[in-house]
């Protein structure tokens, strides 16, 4: 009896400790994320915050007004459009490459991985400068060049994300759909893609973020005509005395990443909830 009690106590203690450790780690991660954002958030609602003051002395919307006057609206639209365009190009390509990698259909998978990773490994500034010359000489519009390069840069993220989904799913469901009478396209559309919806959504979000947050490629290949939010933010941050404006722009620029974080968390929680309640061999 005493053994049973001591075992129960030891299990309860170990569970409590592991919960505390998990919560502590989550708190640290959240702190790591929020600490840099906190001053930005405060600056965004401050109209005066001087010197050594711990908190803003005066709150106001001056930063937001100034940001709107500097072109926040159009820049927001351009960034959104660029992010969506990059996601629209990089997600289908990533899904295709991810299928090859996840189901080991590629004849030379290592070569494919190297080809995917190479653009990310090279310094973007060097790549963008080199491509700038090429783009100018062959007469490709800057916007198209920006989109193409960002899609290539987003491809590793989308491909590996979807590849993990394909590897987890396996070809079984798609083969089953074929055996039930669905053609290859119908099997993919009706079974495989719905089963991969979370991986595809995550890949699209990552690709969107690549387009949304890019600075160097947009600046160099866009030739200054494509003014997106990061460009506006960069210009504002390089000046002095306009912290509220910069902070307002930074808050808007950071918001998709925060949304992504919330969405990923929700997806992971929902995946845990929707896991089969009983495994094979359970009672019929």
């Amino acid at each position: 009896m005493s053994t049973a009690v001591s075992t129960a106590v030891s299990t309860a203690v170990s569970t409590a400790v592991s919960t505390a450790v998990r919560r502590g780690a989550a708190g640290l991660a959240l702190g790591w994320l929020l600490v840099p954002l906190l001053p930005v958030a405060l600056w965004a609602v401050a109209s005066r915050w001087s010197g050594r003051a711990a908190l803003p002395q005066q709150l106001g919307t001056a930063g937001w007004v100034s940001a709107l006057e500097a072109g926040l609206g159009p820049a927001l639209l351009r960034s959104t459009a660029l992010g969506l365009a990059v996601a629209a190009v990089a997600t289908p390509w990533g899904a295709w490459v991810g299928r090859l990698l996840g189901w080991r259909l590629a004849r030379h998978p290592r070569l494919l991985v190297v080809a995917l990773v190479l653009p990310v490994l090279l310094p973007p500034l060097a790549v963008a400068m080199g491509l700038d010359v090429v783009v100018l000489r062959i007469g490709v519009p800057g916007e198209v060049a920006v989109l193409a390069v960002l899609a290539v840069l987003a491809l590793p993220y989308t491909a590996f994300t979807v590849a993990a989904g394909y590897a987890r799913l396996g070809p079984g469901p798609e083969e089953q759909a074929r055996m039930l009478g669905a053609g290859p396209r119908a099997a993919r559309r009706l079974v495989t893609w719905p089963a991969l919806r979370r991986s595809l959504a995550l890949a699209a979000l990552l690709a969107f973020l690549v387009g949304w947050s890019d600075y160097v490629v947009t600046l160099l290949l866009g030739g200054g005509r494509l003014v997106t939010l990061p460009l506006l933010l960069g210009a504002s941050a390089s000046g002095a005395g306009n912290e509220p404006t910069t902070a307002a722009l930074a808050v808007v620029a950071a918001s998709p990443a925060l949304v992504l974080l919330v969405v990923v968390g929700a997806v992971l929680r929902s995946a845990r909830r929707s896991a089969p309640r009983t495994g094979p061999g359970g009672a019929a």
Binding site: L180, A182, A195, P280
Partner: protein, 390 residues
């Protein structure tokens, strides 16, 4: 006409040292069921995938109702597959899963779902239509997979170890369900299995080893007359007695240190050749040592016993150091060290296979028993060495 025929199928996976399927010929007559049994890696699942069109054969043909479908993609072959993992579609509910086949073949949604409900009733899952696959047990998922395959209206069903992941009780329930479904719909079924007990569900059983089909026969025939030693060893429970077939006055006989065994008339072709006699352990019994009776027998000593359910299997060592397994009648037991004489039951049926198939005989072991294939659950317990008690 929905019989299935595999003709000379050959297959090798890229980079594999050995072919996975070698010249397999198989016929499943319309409305019948054929079970292919074999150890892990013998090519059973590959054979099914070749029939289904999920793998491309290097040579050979797949015929359905006499029509060559080898070049057709899986969706146009007119076959349904149920595999060990049910592969239910998580984004659809149960009725949506079962209605999938009719829907992709163009049946209107309402009609497809009505048909799905009928098949769900057939597998005793009515009332669970709106559940998600993740909310079902393993057995229920497998029933949904069966209903989904049947709802396509295809008459040929390929089952790839469909009950392999279920516990014994659930498996027995699924066996009953399969019998019910066969009685109701008479589909042509090709099933690959790992468990020999499931072979009894089929009219014919094929034994596949290393990609080669060694024998196709009704289950009882398989146990009575295994075509090769490989088949006998896979089935398990056979004692192997080395000797020679001669033409006796009343027909062919097998002669060895055991004496003379009468063989069925169709063994006459082996006369004059070395042959291994196969006698099942339940066809032998233990008698008191002493004067040899008429007919074949061998004296020996019990060296171990193993309980298999209600019965005991005794391991007897003969003077020439060979060992024989004898399954004792119910409630009969012996002790290790007991001197005994092993004699055949009066109703014993024996069979001989050419000795050449075993390779050169080992002169020190004229008799042996076929060990159970370790990875075939239905073939009985695992290697005896670990289970014998002295």
């Amino acid at each position: 006409m929905s019989g299935l025929e595999l003709r000379g199928l050959q297959h090798r996976y890229p980079g594999a040292d050995a072919p996975s399927v070698v010249g397999v010929d198989l016929v499943v007559p319309e409305g019948q069921m054929l079970a292919v049994v074999g150890p892990s890696g013998s090519g059973k699942s590959t054979l099914l995938r070749l029939a289904a069109g999920l793998e491309t054969p290097a040579a050979g043909q797949v015929l359905l109702g006499g029509r060559d479908v080898t070049a057709l993609p899986p969706e146009r072959r007119g076959l349904s597959v149920v595999s060990q993992r049910p592969h239910l579609f998580d984004h659809l509910d149960v009725v949506g899963n079962v209605a999938f086949g009719p829907r992709v073949s163009g049946t209107p949604r309402r009609e497809a779902r009505a048909r799905a409900s009928r098949y769900l009733r057939l597998v005793h899952l009515d009332g669970l239509e709106r559940r998600r696959p993740g909310q079902l047990s393993g057995g229920q998922q497998q029933r949904v997979a069966l209903a989904r395959a049947l709802a396509t209206g295809r008459e040929v069903l390929l089952l790839d170890e469909p009950f392999g992941s279920l516990d014994p009780e659930l498996r027995a329930a699924m066996h009953e369900l399969l019998v019910e479904l066969r009685a109701a719909m008479a589909p042509t079924v090709l099933m690959v299995i790992h468990d020999l007990d499931e072979a009894a569900l089929a009219e014919q059983v094929g034994v596949l080893v290393d990609g080669r089909l060694h024998q196709v026969a009704p289950p009882a025939e398989l146990y009575r007359r295994p075509a090769t030693l490989t088949v006998a060893r896979l089935l398990g429970g056979f004692n192997e007695l080395a000797g020679r077939v001669v033409a006796g006055p009343d027909g062919p006989e097998h002669r060895s240190t055991w004496g003379c065994w009468s063989l069925p008339p169709d063994a006459a072709g082996q006369a004059g050749h070395g042959a291994t006699l196969l006698v099942r352990r339940e066809d032998l019994r233990l008698a008191a040592p002493g004067a040899p009776p008429r007919g074949p027998s061998r004296e020996g000593r019990v060296v171990g016993c193993r309980r298999t359910g209600a019965r005991v299997v005794a391991l007897v060592e003969t003077p020439d150091d060979a060992r024989v397994e004898v399954e004792l009648p119910l409630r009969e037991e012996v002790a290790a060290g007991d001197p005994v004489r092993v004699v055949p039951e009066p109703t014993a049926t024996v069979w001989a296979v050419p000795a050449a198939q075993t390779g050169p005989p080992d002169p020190s072991h004229h008799t042996r028993h076929t060990r159970h294939a370790p990875d075939l659950p239905g073939s009985g317990p695992g290697p005896w060495d670990h289970a014998w008690r002295d």
